[in-house]
């Protein structure tokens, strides 16, 4: 155990207020106008945070973070240039605007370039309750991290080493403005507790982790429960072995299922669509998933990790259906990609906001019990996903299932297929929804994939 004196880190000067950032945005917009730009947009963000990590009962690191950035784009007609600066002083901002203007002289005329259409900009900025600072001292952060790791060690004697536990808290403030008169900003916070431990049985060594993340400190899982879960997950991996090369149903846990939905988002994102670099080109209205799959975007959920009142271009975000009964209802577009496709932006400059896969009836155990012979995937490795073709091949670890029962942990195998077939071959979505992310989904069962092993 280590006791610490109160860090003066807490006393470090706080974040600038919203009015200060708005003034910086206005300054940059005016500078762009003076240099002859026909339009401009500026985003300013500041963030500060504290993280404390412990390992084997001792403090390992205490980090005080403070970041800021200003990014701007200027337009001369339909030519654009961009620049960024971490320095907010007048001459630095002026220099960044000048650099962007210089670049715009060399970029080409592109009719799709420009600010978002003014009528789509957010008229008001709803308070989504995203800002809940955690008044956490360094000592208190260390205490929580120690409790988290100790709970992991206490869970099982097989846990004999640790990569440590960490408590992290940060808050930030972002302001976006453009020369069509939009200016808006909001603060947001995020806090997390995480733990990674090692388990040993004979010569075998396994590692796993768990975490809790929330915008609201009180909503975090207890440090002890995070540690216990990390330990349980690690111990469950001991005894891992390979399986023979075969094809079988594959059940993705909610954390792994999130990555599948992430590939879907990539494939229906404007940038990949207008480049025809997606296996889902021209698929609007088509059945891209099995009929029981419904996916909604919910940008205004209070306190949620993916919530945003407006997107990266100031466009109002809206709730909408992306997939209904397996059919694709919408793409993920910003103004540029929308114009390239002859469509309207969907308010997704910067990405999606709380994508929710509608839960099914069965919980995780019920889904497992329905598998005669197959694989539960709890870990995926590598980048073997080709969105142009949909070809999918990744390293995996998890559990082998026989007659509805988990029989042993599995490692050093790959799972492969094509995302087109995998999405249409989803035979169930669980009700075990994980909300600790921008994509909210339960477990997803894919009826058949190739498993390569021994």
């Amino acid at each position: 155990m280590s006791s610490m004196t109160e860090s003066s880190g807490r006393a470090r000067s706080g974040l600038p207020d919203k009015a200060t950032l708005e003034e910086r945005v206005e300054f940059a917009l005016n500078a762009a106008k003076r240099l002859g730009a026909s339009a401009a947009e500026v985003s300013v963000s500041v963030e500060q945070g504290l993280s404390a990590s412990v390992r084997r009962g001792e403090v390992e690191t205490v980090e005080h973070r403070r970041d800021r950035g200003l990014a701007l784009t200027v337009y001369f007609g339909r030519c654009k240039g961009s620049a960024a600066s971490a320095d907010f002083a007048d001459d630095a901002v002026q220099g960044a605007v000048q650099a962007a203007c210089d670049i715009a002289r060399y970029t080409s005329e592109d009719p799709c370039q420009g600010l978002a259409d003014p009528e789509l900009l957010a008229r008001e900025v709803p308070d989504l309750d995203l800002h809940h600072p955690w008044d956490l001292s360094v000592d208190a952060a260390i205490e929580q991290a120690l409790a988290c790791e100790q709970a992991a060690f206490d869970t099982d004697p097989a846990i004999d080493n640790s990569e440590g536990a960490e408590v992290d808290t940060h808050t930030g403030l972002r302001v976006y403005g453009n020369s069509n008169g939009f200016i808006g900003g909001y603060p947001a916070s995020s806090h997390s507790i995480s733990c990674a431990v090692l388990g040993r049985r004979g010569d075998e060594l396994q590692r796993d982790f768990w975490f809790s993340v929330s915008r609201v400190p009180e909503a975090l899982d207890s440090a002890a429960s995070v540690g216990r879960r990390a330990a349980e997950r690690t111990v469950a991996r001991l005894g891992s072995r390979r399986v023979g090369t075969t094809s079988a149903p594959v059940l993705f846990t909610p954390q792994m299922a999130r990555s599948l939905i992430g590939h879907f988002v990539g494939a229906v994102s404007g940038g990949n669509l207008y480049r025809k670099a997606s296996f889902l080109v021209d698929s609007l209205g088509q059945p891209v998933f099995a009929p029981q799959v419904n996916v909604h975007e919910q940008p205004h959920l209070p306190q949620a990790l993916g919530s945003a009142p407006f997107d990266g271009e100031g466009v109002a975000t809206r709730s909408r259906a992306l997939v209904e009964s397996g059919e694709l209802r919408g793409y993920v577009l910003n103004s540029y990609s929308a114009r390239k496709l002859g469509m309207q932006t969907t308010g997704n400059a910067g990405g999606v906001h709380n994508l929710s896969v509608e839960p099914g009836e069965a919980d995780f155990d019920e889904l497992v019990s329905g598998i005669e012979r197959g694989l539960v995937v709890t870990h995926l490795m590598g980048q073997g996903v080709n969105l142009v073709t949909g070809d999918y091949s990744r390293g995996a670890a998890g559990f082998w299932v026989e007659n509805g029962e988990i029989v042993h942990p599995v490692e050093e195998i790959t799972i492969a297929g094509n995302l087109r077939d995998m999405f249409r071959g989803i035979s169930a979505v669980g009700r075990d929804v994980d909300v600790q992310g921008n994509v909210r989904t339960g477990s997803i069962l894919v009826e058949r994939m190739t498993i390569a092993g021994e």
Binding site: T5, R12, A104, L205, G395, T450, A452
Partner: protein
């Protein structure tokens, strides 16, 4: 050669400390604040960087960006504890504030002292160029257009060409509590071509590129840049013909150069000092043991002039070196930064690296490669009855603890009865780090390094790296295709 670093140190002082009005006396004052009793070591990492990027797409120069960043990271180490704070303002009050925050890791009281400042002697492995100034904006734009034209002229099936060019001018100054002051000016350029080709409703992509610690003229030498365009088209068009990849465990022949990502994942990360100090690596405590076939000698070498993964000094001011990791199959050493070297009673190996002033250093690779062996590459392929010949890869990943690693082939062929036959679709290969190199039965005489494209991620920090290897044969590796 030793002049190199003196010049770099002078440049770094001139470009970072002078504009901020900071003197060596100010550094003394900040270290006085930082060196509380109980603080074993401390350092300050000053950085000022400028970068740009240009992108061509649809045949037009679509976007360009320019960025400036600067700051100072302050670290105090007490035993295994590290206190860290940083500021994006390089001014004395911010430096003192960060020092106070960082040293809180140790129980406060009193003030420490530093010895007189001394420069580090290190050969300079690259010119202190600002790459952004090595071509005019007109010439940069012209370069992008030439590559677009070259790619489109290769094959009528080319539908889309994306060319990106980027340059970084990175100036760093490291001051540590031993009184050492080290400077480095690090240029870095990168050019990439991505091509989409279509035929009969089928679409495939290909990509190629390169770069290094030099100016943009590197790309113009012998029309190297045009080779990238041709190579990207070749891959995209080849993939149009690819059939499903096999699934299962089989002999795999890996081509020379970039497939060395195998070494980076299978053993490189596992030999980083932090994991081994903590006992969390599958290679922990195994120095002196056989972990590879006697054909394998593997080094991490940060001293190759001009390479993407090279550094004249690392981010802690340690002079770069060539470290033998595996010699004729025997594990000989780990890669160390200062903290892990001190805690394990070993020497730093010049592998202390960080993404920026806002990140803590840790042991990272530089250029990791296997030395050439005795075999003719043709002979290696002839020795395989049925297997996979993989010559190009996307990224990889490793679980340090279990040792399991993957890397994803983007260009591969079947080997049937000793001959390379059909191209197959991309597939992930999976293996076990401590075992896979024991399965290496043939090593080619054709060592090649990659073209200067690698980025390594660890604990959220990205740094540029290099890899390389000769053609080599792994007797059994699991190929994650769909054809069971």
């Amino acid at each position: 050669m030793s002049q190199g670093n003196e010049r770099n140190l002078a440049l770094a002082q001139e470009q970072i400390l002078t504009p901020a009005g900071l003197t060596e006396a100010d550094l003394d004052k900040a270290f006085g604040e930082l060196m509380a009793p109980g603080v074993d070591a401390a350092d300050m990492y000053f950085q000022a960087s400028r970068h740009e990027s240009w992108v061509l797409e649809d045949g037009i120069v679509k976007s360009g960006s320019h960025g400036l960043d600067q700051g100072v990271g302050v670290r105090a180490v007490s035993g295994e504890k590290t206190g860290f704070a940083y500021s994006d303002e390089i001014v004395l009050p911010a430096l003192l504030e960060a020092s106070t925050a960082a040293r809180a890791i140790s129980r406060s009281g009193g003030q420490g002292t530093v010895r007189a400042w001394q420069g580090t002697q290190a050969p300079s492995l690259y010119e202190p160029t600002d790459p952004l100034e090595t071509l005019s904006a007109d010439d940069k734009v012209d370069l992008l257009r030439r590559l677009d034209a070259e790619a489109r002229a290769q094959d009528p099936r080319v539908e889309q060409v994306i060319v990106s060019l980027s340059g970084l001018h990175d100036v760093v100054l490291v001051a540590d509590s031993d009184g050492r002051l080290s400077g480095d000016v690090r240029p870095l350029v990168r050019l990439n071509v991505t091509v989409l080709a279509a035929q009969d409703g089928r679409r495939e992509s290909g990509a190629a590129g390169g770069g290094g610690r030099t100016g943009y003229s590197f790309f113009l030498e012998s029309d190297r840049c045009l080779e990238y365009a041709r190579e990207a088209v070749r891959q995209a068009v080849l993939n149009l013909e690819a059939v499903a990849a096999p699934a299962g465990t089989m002999p795999v022949v890996l081509g020379p150069g970039w497939p060395g990502v195998l070494l980076h994942e299978a053993i490189g990360h596992g030999l980083e000092g932090d994991f081994n100090r903590k006992g969390t690596s599958a290679f922990s405590g195994r120095v002196g043991e056989r972990v590879a076939s006697p054909l394998c000698t593997i080094v991490d070498d940060g001293t190759i002039a001009g390479r993407r993964g090279s550094l004249s000094i690392d981010d802690e001011g340690t002079v770069s070196q060539k470290t033998t990791l595996i010699e004729r199959g025997i594990l000989t050493g780990y890669m160390q930064d200062k903290l892990n070297a001190r805690l394990t009673g070993s020497q730093p190996t010049g592998n202390g690296r960080r993404e920026s002033y806002a990140h803590l250093p840790m042991p990272r690779m530089t250029n990791t490669y296997m030395l050439p062996g005795p075999h003719d590459p043709e002979e290696i392929i002839r020795s395989v009855d049925r297997g996979l010949y993989a010559v190009n890869f996307g990224g990889g990943q490793v679980d340090i603890t279990s040792g399991k690693f993957v890397f994803s082939a983007s260009e591969a062929y079947l080997i049937e009865k000793g001959r390379v036959t059909r191209p197959v679709k991309g597939a992930t290969l999976i293996g076990n780090g401590p075992e896979v190199l024991k399965q290496v039965s043939m090593v080619g005489n054709d060592l090649a390094l990659d073209s200067g494209i690698g980025v390594c991620g660890k604990e959220g920090q990205s740094v540029p790296v290099g890899v390389g290897q000769p053609t080599l044969k792994v007797d059994a590796l699991t190929v994650g295709g769909t054809e069971a």
